[in-house]
Symmetry: C2
Subunit: 350 residues, 2 copies
């Protein structure tokens, strides 16, 4: 995770163009906003109903039919139907910055009530003042301090509660929607379609494992134990019969790039036959799936819709899609064009 | 894992009484021995058919009925029906030493063909001569070297193949059966009964995660991604389009004692409602399950059958059952008496 913040920092100048939307951020904390279980809205009758007809949709339908039809030369046994999805930029949006960074900044503002000294102390001061250029000047050390302040030094249960409270109340600065409504309706349908065809679907994300699980289970219909991500070290303690798992201020595992296949091997123990991502951070996961001797499908989501979502690829500091795009073209992997392939982006869109 | 070998070493003197059976070990390598999928033999009609009637069996049946009956005050939603089982001594035997140590010694003997120098070099010499007292004199350093020689420096796929070959051919020195036939028939029935009642069943073992998965999935009917254990660090590499996950000679995680709840939180993300173990190494896992606000059941397997299996508890260097036994008595956890509670021990027994 500190590698991610490090990478963010290396792009300070590019990031600063995003400042307008970030500093314009006005958090609403309406208690009425429930956690949306968006998978309920998926139409089970027509698979991939929000996907426009075309080669990309057809390739997915043909692949699933081929590997699930008994007697097919490419039949994949149920136990081997492992699908792995990246989260940021693949299942939900990730602009102008990863949503987990919004969580960090929002948490600092909440915790500031008990820390009056923060208003004069960096890196907290710049967060409280929504001063992103100043925040970026705090360097990796500053961002790691913010991350650890908001993610460590508490029990796993306490952290879960803060995430649940945040996802239920926070809204995206420009989209003005709860973050878990900024998930991609066509991808919810793809997950559902795979589950109906007895695929076991996993999330394999660079995001925090304990940041995702409190909301992603309901949002995507994927059980917590099938949600894999970056983690901090943790420690078990018992005091007078009370058990606690404490989150320590030390990185345990960074689940990005080469880390993704390693995490898949550790958590799942099988190569995926289907894998989807949107950035260079997913390339190794897709290479790993592509090396499966069973028939496999690799999918890249290309953010091409500057109106309904965002448009970015090779030069974006967030969700860089450069080497992955080249390899996808070379190997004939599926590259989904969000603007042209998807009828809607978010659940409830018309 | 090196902690386990360390712990083994600390009990050198106790272990040496076990030497007779170990040095009497004659490996048979009959290729006809298939991997047994013992769960096929579980009778689905009568739950826990191999359990004698009595308070312990009834407590399990009553618990499962209580938490799975809609409208029950203690009803547990399906998503929360998480059951975690230790492996060594809980699902299969673990005497005279953990079976993974037999694997290590057998592998050294296989690899010795390419290492003629080992016959004069410790710690290999003592393994090749079945000289356990001499092996123990090599200390932690020697045992870790053997572990790394047999578990690291190869790809994850290569390691899987060695485990599959071993489990298909090796036999226990005194029981003279393949190791995966030395699993407990009553526990297979318990796993099956829980699965029928929509529990998601996990193994949480101090044994190696990649040592268990190649055979445990078929033997217990538990998917690989629900098998959690100790692990070495691994590294992903691509060379000319070929992907490899290499096993490094460095401990990643030791899944015993305080490690078990930490692993459960990381891999599963939920507290179990049912947890079973047999030794002090499982105590923290059972404490963690016992702290679940949902109605929960903690089960200890007590090895009391010196004729059909082995009899050991407080003073055994392997599977020490001492503090856990005291806490089980104090808290009213279930303590299964293998001799009196189980009609048979192994599949196929009369």
């Amino acid at each position: 995770m500190n590698l991610k913040t490090n990478s963010l920092l290396a792009k300070t100048f590019l990031l600063s163009v995003l400042l307008v939307s970030v500093s314009a951020c006005k958090k609403e904390t309406s208690k009425e906003t429930d956690i949306t279980t968006t998978q309920d809205s998926v139409a089970v009758e027509a698979p991939l109903a929000s996907w426009n007809e075309g080669q990309n949709k057809q390739t997915i339908l043909d692949y699933v039919k081929d590997v699930t039809t008994e007697g097919s030369a490419n039949f994949v046994p149920v136990a081997d139907r492992i699908a792995t999805f990246d989260n940021d930029g693949t299942l939900w949006s990730e602009q102008p910055v990863y949503f987990q960074l919004f969580f960090v900044m929002d948490r600092i503002k909440v915790l500031a009530k008990d820390h009056p000294e923060w208003k004069d102390k960096q890196p907290y001061k710049s967060v409280l003042e929504n001063n992103m250029p100043e925040l970026m000047k705090q360097g990796k050390k500053g961002l790691v301090e913010l991350l650890m302040t908001t993610h460590a030094g508490m029990s796993s249960e306490e952290f879960e509660k803060t995430v649940k409270d945040w996802i239920a109340t926070a809204k995206h600065p420009t989209k003005n929607k709860p973050y878990n409504q900024l998930v991609f309706q066509p991808m919810l349908e793809l997950i559902n379609y795979l589950k109906e065809n007895q695929f076991k679907v996993f999330i394999v994300s660079g995001g925090g494992i304990e940041f995702m699980r409190p909301w992603a289970e309901a949002t995507y219909g994927i059980p917590k134990d099938q949600i894999i991500g970056s983690s901090l070290k943790e420690q078990f303690e018992t005091t007078n019969g009370t058990t606690t798992i404490n989150k320590l201020a030390e990185l345990d595992f960074y689940d990005d790039k080469e880390g993704k296949p390693v995490a898949i091997n550790k958590f799942i123990g099988r190569k995926p036959v289907l894998s989807a991502g949107n950035s260079d951070g997913d390339l190794q996961m897709l290479q790993y799936a592509a090396s499966n001797p069973l028939k496999n499908l690799e999918i890249y989501i290309h953010h091409t819709d500057s109106i309904r979502e965002w448009s970015y690829d090779r030069k974006s500091p967030i969700g860089t899609f450069d080497k992955g795009w080249d390899e996808a073209k070379q190997k004939g992997w599926l590259v989904i064009d969000m603007k042209n392939d998807w009828k809607v982006i978010y659940p409830g869109d018309k």
